[in-house]
Symmetry: C2
Subunit: 133 residues, 2 copies
């Protein structure tokens, strides 16, 4: 889907505890740093839909498992990210996004290109976009 990039990330084994890459400023999909935050999502719950009008999202799941669904008003893109399928999901501005907690405890890191600004995002009720969750 245009505006969606999946980038495999390295997990580096260390006997005292592994290191998981998230993003370098030279990586594909990096559009500047505005803010980093974590979002947790309980098993079975869904947050969405939200469309950012300016912000690029870069999403990584360091624990648990989260299904992300992107809708471009024509088709759906979906992927389940987790430490077992450890990739970064880049979502450009203008696309609708929702995500569902798949594991028991789930957390994403969003490395957003802009600081949070409620006027920059549009929300729509979950039921308003017919995805077969």
């Amino acid at each position: 889907m245009d505006g969606v990039i999946l980038t495999p990330l390295k997990q580096i084994h260390h006997p005292k505890g592994d290191v998981f890459h998230a993003m370098k400023k030279s990586d594909v999909g990096f559009e500047g740093f505005g803010e980093a935050y974590f979002s947790t999502i309980h098993q079975g719950d869904i947050k969405g839909w939200k469309k950012h009008t300016k912000m690029t999202l870069n999403l990584v799941v360091p624990f648990g498992a989260i299904e992300f669904v992107v809708w471009d008003e024509k088709a759906f893109f979906s992927v389940i990210l987790s430490p077992e399928n450890y990739q970064r999901l880049t979502v450009c501005a203008g696309l609708w996004v929702a995500f569902r907690g798949v594991g028991k405890n789930n957390m994403l890191l969003n490395l957003a290109s802009l600081e949070h600004d409620p006027n920059e995002a549009i929300n729509q009720a979950l039921e308003s976009i017919p995805y077969a969750w």
Copy 2:
């Protein structure tokens, strides 16, 4: 200690899963974005000592509990970060850092001001700096 900043961070309650702030580009301690990575540390294990000569570290612990110790060659600074003591630890270049896993499963996020460069950091054996772990 000079070059060390502790900044309380917001945890925003949400019925589907909380949001934890990590860093905004306008925050105190932000010196540019180079790379974000996660490091896990097993309970009782210690990683360190390492001194970055150019990189500013911004450390957040989204789960578990980790004791960070900073040494400026005169004195020690220490703090245990966790979701219960949810703060960001900024460590400027030139300081020695080590950290110990306190909880059962522990993970930190480092929002580093530079991309990883092994020539930019100096390592020293754990025993070489006499901190009473």
